[in-house]
Symmetry: none
Subunit: 194 residues, 4 copies
Amino acid sequence: MTTTPRRKDAARNWDRIVAVARELVDQGTPLQLNDVARRAGLGVGTVYRHFPTPEALLETVAAPCLEDLAAHGERALADDTDPWRALEGFLTRTVEAQVTDAALSPVTAAPADALPRTTELKASLRSAGTVLLDRAREAGAVRPDVAAADLVPLMCGIAHAVGVHGGAPGDRIDTGRRYLAALLGGLRVPPRGA
Amino acid sequence: MTTTPRRKDAARNWDRIVAVARELVDQGTPLQLNDVARRAGLGVGTVYRHFPTPEALLETVAAPCLEDLAAHGERALADDTDPWRALEGFLTRTVEAQVTDAALSPVTAAPADALPRTTELKASLRSAGTVLLDRAREAGAVRPDVAAADLVPLMCGIAHAVGVHGGAPGDRIDTGRRYLAALLGGLRVPPRGA
Amino acid sequence: MTTTPRRKDAARNWDRIVAVARELVDQGTPLQLNDVARRAGLGVGTVYRHFPTPEALLETVAAPCLEDLAAHGERALADDTDPWRALEGFLTRTVEAQVTDAALSPVTAAPADALPRTTELKASLRSAGTVLLDRAREAGAVRPDVAAADLVPLMCGIAHAVGVHGGAPGDRIDTGRRYLAALLGGLRVPPRGA
Amino acid sequence: MTTTPRRKDAARNWDRIVAVARELVDQGTPLQLNDVARRAGLGVGTVYRHFPTPEALLETVAAPCLEDLAAHGERALADDTDPWRALEGFLTRTVEAQVTDAALSPVTAAPADALPRTTELKASLRSAGTVLLDRAREAGAVRPDVAAADLVPLMCGIAHAVGVHGGAPGDRIDTGRRYLAALLGGLRVPPRGA
DNA sequence: CATGAATGAGCCTTCATTCAT
DNA sequence: AATGAATGAAGGCTCATTCAT
């Protein structure tokens, strides 16, 4: 029914699928493989061949952003000067990404991954966060009762809070930064000069 | 098929429906009116008569908890001694409730309500939070950049974070308290000897 | 899309579904619930409500015939005069039924049943066969190396053989009788007075 | 993508396909050409080139066994000493094969063949059976009401009966022999002291 | 010859909602 | 007021087959 496809267009189809999925994600539309196929002008089977599950497609959509984040994490690890600043920078980037890219939150919060690469990236991020947190804690810059296992939940929580807050897409980053600042700096002003 | 129904039966049915829904919510099962009807041993129509949408039912399930919270808010407003303490107590209760009762988060985060009573309760909570926050801000106990409109999102964010963290149901309250403490007290230890 | 349905027509719908299924079975068309719905002019959901699986529908189609067979089995058990004749009559009826009604073979051969009634009927038939075979064996009318557990497989085998033989539907009963006769009487003529 | 393919590779691929198909048949997995291709590490097109339909592949898998059977048939025809014994031996072999090799039954029972060789082999078997049956009948060793056209159906029936009986694969041959014996010798003990 | 991407019909199943009784 | 049968859109997934490379 569609125009005759060519073998070499496999990559092109892949791209089209991912592009369509990206649009849907940005619109907040849930990813449905049949739907994606229709919008991409491809057969269902083609989409299923490339992405056996919606999760796999979503992770593919999220991947570039996760790669960036992971790369930043690596760089942050290399910076030994100010542990607190390194941690803060990493978390800021993370929140900005989560708040900007709707593909990220579900992937980050998911207990299981569809693609091995996703697992690697998430592990890399967790590991970077852990090290940065440890360094900051050792430097006495961080409360001792925050564990590495809390970082991902807290970032997801902020992203969720931004979503609940609503408002224009352009304000989301600001809101996220404010919430992160609240978390980082503390809601309460230190009682006295203490 | 049955003998002529009575008013009393209507109330009984209402109770049964809500009880079944409560169980389902606690199990994490999504509320499906058909499903509820079957489990309650009632016709679908009966359930639809009492609760035109799943949201209405969910809000009904959540209502008692919201009432409690609202009542606490009223009491907190009456306490003029320590603005910070009042705010803290209110938010703590809120987080505990959200984290304990799975019916709460979706209702709190929803932009629209199915039942008028829900709208009233949510307004009451927002209002209490606003006043408590204002008082604390005026007392210099709170950062000036946190607005009243942020309270609900932040509480939802914490609840979400607790969900992402996972773990045993029994640990959820503790985790929630920790996250709230982080938010309230600040993640970072004040730089100076403070 | 179809004409407005009435509650009291539930039974009528049931009948229509079974009637359509009966036709399909007779044509040798595999039972597909969607297909049945379309042909019966009913919504898919209606068919699924009445018959959750194709097997349930097939067993319903087969039921009357199984009931007849079971009733005959009961009667055959009551006849104490000639054990061999009783067994022969029972098996003849069975083969005739299997060969005549395409719904029977799959139900008989299935290791698991969809409907409790089917299980009861199959148990009743097996039990009748067992008793009749035992009596015949005790009377010395039957080879000792044929077990009760062989009756069902052998009847299914004959039905299958008739199907492989093919030919006009009208000849199927005759062919079945011949095959049963071969099985019962022995393919080989006793060599001599032996 | 690969280097220029060679004739030798074609034969190798053919072998791989058949080997994979044999495994699948033995496992009771339905033959799907796509599936076969994947398991054989070949492209679908390659499999389709060699075997245009699943039936063609199945017949190829069944062929060796059919060849053996046909060869045995030829030998049985050469043996003029005991017509009954020759027939019995031939049928026994046939049943053993059918019961042992899952590829056989569908091929034998199919009304049409995909490969000419299959048609030849089946004709050869039918012909051998016919002659052996005729000889036995002429020798007065066989009931007159069993026709040559009944042999194939009856063998298929026995194979089917063995399948319905179920049980361990190791018992299938025994069961098959018992059923054939029942068919050959007669279920009923001759009434008279005979 | 081999490859394997693409196709899309076709089947299965669920569920929110209506409405005659 | 209660019932629950009926609906049918909607979504999910598989698989035989073709054909451009």
